[in-house]
């Protein structure tokens, strides 16, 4: 019975109107959460914050503890939660949102821009370039470069050097590529022979 009384006085306090910042007094407004058995509360943060710390403003730690999740709240179906989580992970694994680089082609009056993030390998990129500029680039070979083609795709890397597209692994390529240039045959042959 005493427990009920103290419980009720907690709630009386909760209904007092105050001009404090929302959240600054949250511990007293949330006695309910403290009564949940710990097995029902799932924790997402690595730190062991309990419900009464949620929203507490005077933190001694540098990072605020992540909110403790209450089972059943917010009311979102796990079906929906899981689907969004999977999609979020897929986009988080990308390094950044979009990686647009300029593409120039010898003889073309203006440059184009493409998003390297959209492609997952060299053949896809080359295919896109072929479509964009209506030309054939041909197959890459380690020895011959793009021999047999009038064009060779090159790129400027972080050091300012012009490199042949295809030499380095794809992952390394998209992080070091600053711009692309589709070189005309004669010049390109020079690169391939290096």
């Amino acid at each position: 019975m005493e427990r009920l009384l103290s419980f009720e006085s907690d709630h009386l306090r909760a209904t007092e109107l105050r001009l404090g910042l929302p959240g600054s007094d949250k511990p007293s407004v949330r006695p309910k959460n403290n009564k949940r058995a710990s097995s029902e509360i799932s924790q997402e943060s690595k730190s062991n914050s309990c419900a009464s710390n949620a929203g507490n403003d005077d933190e001694r730690d540098s990072a605020p503890p992540a909110k403790v999740q209450v089972v059943g709240w917010p009311p979102i179906r796990s079906y929906r939660k899981n689907t969004l989580q999977v999609q979020a992970k897929t986009s988080e694994s990308e390094l950044c949102r979009g990686m647009y680089v300029k593409v120039s082609m010898d003889g073309a009056p203006y440059l184009r821009k493409i998003d390297l993030k959209v492609y997952t390998c060299y053949p896809e990129l080359l295919n896109a370039l072929e479509n964009m500029f209506q030309l054939t680039i041909g197959k890459y070979s380690e020895r011959e470069g793009y021999n047999g083609s009038d064009y060779a795709p090159t790129y400027e890397d972080k050091d300012g050097d012009w490199m042949l597209v295809g030499d380095v692994p794809w992952g390394m390529f998209i992080t070091t590529c600053k711009r692309l240039r589709i070189m005309r045959g004669s010049e390109a042959k020079g690169l391939a022979c290096v």
């Binding site: 427990r3 009920l4 419980f7 009720e8 709630h11 009386l12 909760a14 209904t15 109107l17 105050r18 001009l19 404090g20 929302p22 949250k26 407004v29 949330r30 309910k32 959460n33 009564k35 949940r36 058995a37 097995s39 997402e44 605020p64 992540a66 909110k67 999740q69 209450v70 089972v71 059943g72 709240w73 917010p74 009311p75 979102i76 179906r77 796990s78 079906y79 929906r80 939660k81 689907t83 969004l84 999609q87 979020a88 897929t90 986009s91 998003d115 959209v118 492609y119 997952t120 896809e124 295919n127 896109a128 479509n131």
Partner: protein, 581 residues
């Protein structure tokens, strides 16, 4: 001439024009002969709680039923509040119907546990089976689906809306025989693994009446165009994954295929959306009435571009990426909008990640005169906004507001949101469903009890101060059927004082409240036509009677305690001998 002298078949013919269950029930109460005639010609029954009646009783009273709809677990099971193994098994019903309704055509289940055995029994015993809808169900695998596919010769509809299906192997689609040409609706959106595309394609090609096709995520975008060209008559389409390499040929193929679908009214799917491919659907936008973008993680500008082309839109489900600006565009374009659902993209984040506030909802309430159904997740609200919404849309029927942080006050005044929700129930006289959130005192429940006379379902969390709140609702809401409460300081007094009310309702759920075990026992003993079930996974509730009951589910029933309760569910009725652990 008196009505009772009309021949039976005339009365039966007249009754056949009465479809609503409520009206049918009223007819059956007029007199004994009408009861008899009516029960023999009732063709569909809806059992909102599968434990309210036994299958045997249902079949005995209505022997000629062709369509059965059953619901199992309480609604809060959607949010993981009901432990695994709680119940809701459909098998006893199917076993009974295999004998009692051999000509059953339709079975619609929601939140039930369906086993492969059940599906196999349906396939084997019901020769005229046509429609299977499994909404939010679980417990079965593609083996069961294979049985349905193989043996239900007249199958028209197979809908697995958001069910949890085990996919051991994907080849169940090829079990549809070549002679099966009757499919009208196929929804496999929830299936995790790949289905055989060639089997799917062959099925689509040979079913000329196919109107609804909801694919699962595993169907690649490159193949969608091909499928659409085989089924240009589709009215409802759910895409598979909506991402592919950016290639003009894929795009033009897809756009062309969509433009051939002149009947398309509903679109869904859009997993992993690549914005560059959205314009492929522009050609069908002008005819769209339903758009489900609730899995589409695209930003507001792309959403605005899409929505602005859909003037006939009646129903939109979308993520909060739409933001207030997107909702403004929606309000300006979609004057026919009836239903809006805005889901949170990051519900567990501490900070808002999008600019979606109460303003968006206010704008839609202003601009869309037919708006009647709202589900809105947001992070702030004000009484002013709620009052405005209420006054703008007195025809609101369903209003579910979820302010993500529990007990959030009015952000302008820091007061509780009692007045705002009070305005909703006061102005929206036909309100049937309401979900509350934010900081709320007993006052809001006083408003609800006073004004919400047509309210049928109420969902409450982290609200109220005392038993008075619960008492207002139970004593005032004349039409209340379902009440679900979590984390509120409601206790014994209101419950016991309104015991009789509980028999007029379908069910009451209370979790993390302040109801004592003693009160539950008392209620169970006083009310033999209620099942008072205590759910406690940590042990028998009477071993710690000083603690409030963790989860309580009370429902009316004509069949007494159920026999399939798991170890963590106790029925605290009259002669309950509590199990010793």
């Amino acid at each position: 001439m008196s009505y009772s002298s009309l021949p039976e078949d005339v009365l039966e013919h007249v009754f056949s024009f009465v479809q609503s269950d409520k009206d049918r029930n009223v007819i059956s109460l007029v007199c004994k002969s009408w009861y008899e005639i009516e029960r023999w010609c009732r063709r569909r029954i809806f059992v909102g709680n599968c434990y309210a009646v036994s299958p045997r009783m249902a079949i005995r009273r209505f022997p000629e039923v062709r369509s059965v709809e059953l619901k199992g677990k309480p609604h809060f099971a959607d949010f993981n509040l009901v432990p695994e193994g709680w119940g809701g098994y459909v098998y006893p019903w199917i076993r009974a119907m295999a004998g009692g309704y051999p000509w059953l055509e339709e079975l619609k289940l929601k939140r039930m546990v369906v086993t492969d055995e059940s599906l196999e029994l349906i396939a084997k015993s019901l020769k005229n089976f046509k429609v299977l809808v499994l909404s939010s169900c679980e417990g079965f695998s593609t083996h069961g689906l294979a049985a349905i596919a193989a043996d239900c010769k007249n199958l028209k509809e197979l809908d697995l809306w958001e069910s949890d299906v085990e996919d051991p192997s994907g080849n169940w689609l090829s079990k549809f025989p070549d002679t099966c040409t009757s499919l009208v609706s196929l929804n496999i959106a929830c299936l995790g693994s790949e289905v055989s595309f060639s089997a799917l394609e062959r099925l689509v090609v040979r079913c000329p009446n196919l109107r609804t096709l909801r694919l699962n995520r595993a169907v690649p975008l490159e193949k969608l165009a091909h499928l659409l060209r085989q089924a240009p008559q589709l009215v409802e389409l759910g895409t598979g994954t909506y991402s592919a390499d950016l290639r003009p040929d894929i795009f033009s193929n897809l756009a062309g295929a969509f433009s051939g679908c002149k009947e398309l009214k509903s679109l869904s799917g859009f997993w992993d959306v690549v914005p560059a491919y959205l314009p492929a659907v522009y050609s069908v936008c002008s005819g769209l009435t339903t758009l489900n973008l609730s899995y589409a993680t695209i930003q507001s500008p792309d959403l605005i571009k899409l929505v602005s082309q859909c003037p006939k839109l009646q129903c939109l489900w979308v993520l909060d990426y739409i933001e207030d600006s997107g909702l403004e565009a929606l309000a300006a374009t979609c004057k026919d909008l009836r239903e809006l659902r805005v889901f949170p993209s990051e519900p567990f984040g501490d900070e808002p990640n999008v600019s979606l506030t109460e303003q968006g909802l206010v704008l839609v309430s202003e601009g869309c005169p037919k708006l009647e159904s709202v589900l809105y997740f947001c992070r702030r609200m004000s009484n002013d906004a709620l009052v405005t919404i209420a006054k703008n849309r007195p025809s609101m029927i369903r209003f579910r507001l979820c302010i993500i942080d529990p007990q959030t006050p009015d952000y302008l005044t820091l007061e509780p949101l009692d007045v705002g929700f009070g305005a909703i129930v006061q102005h929206c006289k036909d309100l049937r469903r309401l979900s509350l959130s934010g900081l709320l005192t007993d006052r809001v429940f006083e408003y609800i009890g006073t004004y919400a006379k047509k309210l049928e379902m109420l969902s409450v969390a982290f609200a109220g101060e005392s038993d008075l709140g619960l008492h207002h609702v139970l004593s005032g809401c004349d039409s209340l059927r379902k009440l679900e409460i979590m984390d509120c300081p409601f206790g014994d007094k209101a419950l016991l004082a309104n015991a009789a009310k509980l028999e007029t309702m379908r069910s009451l759920w209370m979790s993390s409240c302040s109801v004592s075990f003693e009160a539950c026992k008392l209620l169970g003993q006083k009310m033999p036509r209620l099942n008072v079930e205590v759910i406690d996974e940590s042990g028998p509730p009477d071993s710690r009677p000083e603690l409030p009951v963790k989860k309580l589910y009370i429902y009316r029933t004509v069949t007494g305690r159920r026999i399939d309760m798991p170890g963590f569910v106790w029925n605290v009725g009259e002669d309950s001998a509590l199990r010793l652990s």
